[in-house]
Symmetry: C2
Subunit: 300 residues, 2 copies
């Protein structure tokens, strides 16, 4: 369906444009002190990335007919948490990487202490924005969104997944162990992206929120499986980050656990399950379905 | 007034006990995965420190007759932000320190990537708690508190002050430049401690909030001036952190800028100004006054 695809691409590009514009507006200006820190925050957050978490937030917001402006603020908060995690993950004491989103990593372009503070400050800014701007019908819902994002980012979410990843390096993980790691490392923030996007609009019955959450869990895992496949197969120039790193660092991945073909098949199965849970939403979940297709078909 | 002092010490110890108990309860259990990360978070946050920010929060809460439970949750959030900043500041790429609160620093006791994730996770947890528990009369006030804490922690607050400190190392700063650095580095979180403590109780006229803010600004600076004096004069065993570090690292301090005697006199002046702005609060500001005395008279 090339027509549909073109329409999706147009939608995605327009939303990516809104996120870029809002990041540019909401990040501290580069000429405000401390200038170097603010420049580095902008360097890390602007002009790159697929913005998958923002797109999930926008797409989920269509299910609850959320206002675009609320979705943009929420999408920016989600992306800031993601970017902070990339900046810290790339540090020498972590993955020690030099390339991210097609550019030198933050600590290479600036320096290590600045990159540390960039990550710290981006995290604070994410919570600031969700507290400062009106992103939901009620302040109670907004507090729930803040709590959800903080849990997703913290030691039982994304940062915890990073810790599990560190401990697992060089070990062979079983598939359930691998899944446990990714539920934390990437899954938590992807779930938060879908749930917070939905929270921006009208309240859904809890049954419907569970359906969205089920979608998010399955598509989050599919995203990670494809990430592992791409790390093993795609060239660095396409990825915009160092390819083949997982194998060199002895990381447990879906490719090391089951091979490329089985991993791709697993991702397609997960996508099918994810999309099935959207059935009752009809046309309102169209962008979520299209995003699911994009996530498993992407080549970068 | 030894009688008054004993009463203050009793008050301070009881509040420190409440914070310790609440930290123990609110930090993730050490036996929950990822265990090593959770152990390290507990290691960094429990059993140490003067808990100055929590005490300021409790003392400000007495001005607005805030419930103790709300103050404790808020005090924990403030302390978690402070502890996260210590863990990151001690990292090899920053101050590279081995001793904190009388124990090996987090990256020495565990390892560098774990310490990085400890700081990241403690920051998330602080915002989670302020969103999750009821800490104010209205959710609107609670959102304001979250925004205030996020700003105080971020690039135009504490993390920004750290960046200014990095750039200033090895340089001679003017007194206004030094003050600019400390307004960010320690001042922002100390102001947040007073303001958030007050926010836990009944709403004050904005004039009264400005008075509290004035108190917080002056006492925050006094706190930093005394910190510089103690770094230059107190032994490591008393401080529980490496003494004499500022001079060795070529840091600009109030002692390097004006000498020990003038710095002590400046701290006393700042305290006097701070306490003057509490005049209209009468007995309700008693603990804030006592804390101000403690902050400039402390020997560790």
């Amino acid at each position: 369906m090339p027509g549909k695809n073109t329409d999706f691409q147009h939608w995605a590009r327009s939303r990516q444009g809104l996120v870029e514009e809002a990041l540019n507006r909401l990040l501290p200006p580069a000429d405000v002190a401390p200038q170097r820190l603010h420049q580095a925050m902008r360097y890390a957050a602007l002009g790159g990335g697929k913005r998958v978490r923002p797109l999930l937030c926008y797409a989920a917001g269509e299910v609850t007919e959320a206002e675009l402006e609320r979705l943009t603020t929420t999408a920016v908060a989600l992306e800031l948490i993601h970017v902070y995690s990339l900046v810290h993950d790339d540090l020498p004491c972590m993955d020690d990487d030099v390339l991210r989103r097609g550019k030198p990593t933050c600590h290479v372009e600036y320096d290590e202490p600045t990159a540390l503070l960039v990550g710290d400050s981006l995290q604070s800014l994410a919570f600031q924005l969700l507290a400062e701007y009106r992103v939901a019908d009620s302040p109670q819902t907004q507090l729930k969104m803040l709590e959800h994002l903080a849990r997703a980012a913290g030691s039982r979410g994304m940062a915890g997944g990073q810790a599990i990843d560190l401990e697992a390096t060089g070990k062979t993980l079983t598939l359930p162990e691998l899944e446990f790691m990714h539920i934390h490392k990437t899954g938590a923030l992807i779930r938060a992206s879908v749930m917070l996007g939905a929270n921006c609009g009208r309240e859904l019955p809890s049954k419907d929120m569970e359906r969205l959450d089920h979608f998010a869990k399955r598509i989050g895992l599919a995203f990670q499986v494809i990430d592992d496949v791409l790390d093993a197969q795609a060239p660095t120039a396409t990825l915009g980050k160092t390819a083949g790193k997982d194998a060199r660092q002895g990381k447990a991945t879906y490719v090391s656990a089951m091979g490329v073909e089985a991993a791709r098949a697993m991702a397609l199965d997960l996508k099918r399950e994810a999309v099935e849970s959207l059935a009752s939403f009809g046309e309102r979940a169209r962008r979520l379905r299209e995003l699911a297709d994009f996530i498993v078909a992407r080549e970068f």
